[in-house]
């Protein structure tokens, strides 16, 4: 029995939690750009990739731990994303938002090709070597990197929570997400809010990329692979709902990992090759039955 629970927790629940919290970080940024700028940002995955590569480079240069260079990687990513907004999204502020979707779709490939040009397509290890997991209560095995990832995610989430709840710009962001027309009438500086949205979204996306790289490795397609589960988490949580995005991310991450647990017999319930399909299936189900998501987000 202990073996059974141990297996489930060690090999499925904890990886699910780790993956889920990474998705959650990505989804917060995506849900805020969707809620405030009103478009599905296809380049969000590449933002994560970019953050991971910045961190990898910094680790190579300084020899520090990835978590130590994380803030710098986040900062660099924010600068790039602000530049992208100025050059490629800002001209479409007054256009139908579908133009932004196309622009971000193009940006997805542009950013990826730049990454591939600069860093090449070979996989890179963020943290060399294998770490031994820490064993607790005889059966609970958790690796230090997983603990570190979860701790970092918690710190970042509390920071976002504080920002949205207690700061002026955070309140303005929530107001604009709820009703942009009203927000404009009440004199909220829309450009400032948009900038703040990009800053927070890019910083969290970069962090998600770095943490995923710590868990696995750095590669140029990592962001694109994250895109679908992160979209799924966003829709599951309800668009424009940062807390929903967190819940959505955790659910998607857990569901992906648990889908390959041998619930029936000894074979995995779902071929692990289809893990990415789980997110998609959840998303489609939500779109059919409850497009506003679990947390009553917006439906456009």
């Amino acid at each position: 029995m202990i073996d059974f629970i141990g297996d489930l927790v060690n090999f499925y629940l904890i990886p699910g939690l780790v993956l889920g919290s990474i998705y959650a970080l990505g989804a917060i940024g995506l849900t805020m750009t969707f809620g405030i700028l009103r478009f599905a940002n296809f380049a969000h995955g590449e933002t994560m990739t970019l953050g991971a590569y910045f961190a990898w480079t910094l680790v190579q240069l300084t020899g520090w731990h990835p978590i130590a260079v994380l803030p710098i990687a986040m900062g660099l990513t924010v600068l790039v994303v602000l530049g992208i907004d100025r050059g490629f999204y800002k001209p479409f502020r007054a256009s139908p938002t579908i133009m932004l979707v196309i622009a971000s779709f193009g940006m997805m490939l542009m950013v990826r090709s730049v990454v591939q040009f600069i860093w090449g397509v070979q996989m890179k290890a963020m943290v060399p070597g294998i770490q031994m997991p820490v064993v607790l209560f005889d059966w609970l095995r958790i690796s230090p990197k997983h603990m570190m990832i979860i701790a970092s995610v918690l710190v970042l989430m509390f920071a976002v929570h504080y920002l949205l709840t207690y700061t002026k710009i955070g309140k303005a962001m929530r107001a604009m997400s709820d009703s942009p027309e009203l927000a404009r009438l009440t004199g909220i500086n829309t450009e400032a809010v948009i900038r703040a949205t990009w800053i927070i979204g890019a910083a969290l996306a970069a962090a998600a990329g770095v943490l995923l790289a710590v868990d696995t490795h750095v590669e140029t397609m990592m962001g694109f692979k994250l895109l679908l589960p992160v979209f799924a988490a966003t829709i599951l949580g309800g668009i424009g709902r940062p807390y929903g995005a967190v819940a959505g991310g955790l659910v998607i991450g857990m569901a992906e990992e648990l889908s390959s647990y041998p619930w029936i017999g000894t074979e995995p319930l779902l071929n692990p090759g289809y893990k990415a399909g789980v997110a998609f299936a959840i998303m489609v189900a939500m779109l059919i039955w409850r497009p506003s998501g679990l947390f009553r987000g917006k439906v456009y």
């Binding site: 479409f92 730049v114 040009f117 289809y274 998303m283 779109l287 439906v299 456009y300």
Partner: protein, 328 residues
């Protein structure tokens, strides 16, 4: 002489692939140009067409599902029907929501389909793909086999072009324009907006599947990588936007033009030393992305801007007034 013949063959292959891309661009034009739907998963429908047609026509083999040895027209029709049914399913879920959801769902469908292609080895031979796909006109002598295939592609493009021009000028096209101009008014005029969107979406996806089918027979091979979102989805978007969306001539022009640019730059970069050649391939992608962004921002109407409904042109003829009116 040999070199001239080589160039001749190159031009034929350029036109053949350009024509196949023209079919894709025309399919996307129905969806984006006429209906305003964002399909980010062209690759998915393209792949479905390619695999269905390939599997239905190949000789028996142990490597993948096959051995049906169907005639080409049956295979092409089956490819379009399967893609159409799938598109209908996606449309049922997403068309009542805003276009962003359709974009997310279509990119998802394309990825899921790639997963299936890679994992269901019994049916698709997994990552190694379906090879020995028969090629129409292969029994003809060189270069007539190539020319005949090219002719088939070009005739298809012409037929689709004529069909779409008819559709654009028809009451169907008129309703499509009305929906784009003012959706509530179109509803108030009794138009079932969802139905019209669905028709546009499904028909566009069917054309994409046909293009996929042609590709698999042309290349005699189809693997999961041939349906790379980059070449299959993104390039088609660039073609349509550059050529001029909502203009069928523009879609065709954009397809041939951008395919020539894409193919010619590939030749240039492949002559560079290996290491550099791999890296400059990414520069190409970057530049083509940049072209898309610049066209979107500075020349959103493309090379051939949209022509408004032909019935207005006809009406203008009747009264002797110019048909050209500003359309912004």
């Amino acid at each position: 002489m040999d070199q001239t013949y080589g160039i001749f063959l190159y031009v034929i292959s350029l036109l053949t692939m350009g024509g196949i891309y023209a079919i894709l661009a025309l399919g996307l034009n129905i969806q984006w140009g006429f209906t305003g739907l964002f399909n980010a998963g062209i690759a998915g429908f393209y792949a479905i067409g390619a695999y269905v047609s390939a599997i239905l026509t190949t000789a028996p083999t142990a490597r993948h599902l096959g051995g049906y040895e169907m005639p080409y027209p049956v295979a092409f029709a089956a490819a379009m029907i399967v893609a159409g049914i799938l598109a209908w399913g996606v449309g049922r879920i997403c068309l009542r929501l805003r276009s962003d959801y359709l974009a997310i769902a279509t990119i998802g469908i394309a990825e899921i389909f790639r997963l299936i292609l890679k994992n269901e080895t019994w049916a698709t031979n997994g990552p190694r793909g379906v090879s020995m796909v028969p090629k129409p006109f292969a029994t003809l002598p060189e270069p007539w086999n190539h020319l005949a295939f090219l002719a088939m592609v070009l005739v298809t493009v012409a037929a689709i072009y004529l069909a779409l021009e008819t559709a654009r000028k028809s009451p169907w096209g008129r309703v499509m324009t009305a929906i784009r101009e003012n959706e509530p008014a179109a509803r108030a005029a009794g138009k079932n907006v969802a139905r019209f969107r669905m028709e546009g979406f499904v028909f566009g996806c069917m054309l994409m599947a046909l293009a996929g089918a042609y590709t698999s027979h042309y290349l005699k091979f189809i693997g999961p990588n041939a349906t790379d979102p980059l070449t299959a989805t993104f390039l088609v978007w660039v073609m349509l936007v550059v050529g001029g969306s909502a203009n069928n001539k523009g879609a065709i022009l954009g397809a041939f033009l951008m395919w020539t640019v894409w193919s010619a730059t590939e030749i240039l970069t492949s002559r560079l030393p290996d290491d550099l050649s791999i890296r400059t391939a990414y520069v190409r992608i970057f530049l083509i992305g940049l072209v898309l962004q610049i066209v979107l921002q500075k020349f959103p109407r493309g090379i051939l801007p949209e022509q408004r409904l032909a019935s207005s042109a006809k009406a203008a003829e009747n009264t002797g007034r110019p048909a050209d009116r500003p359309s912004t």
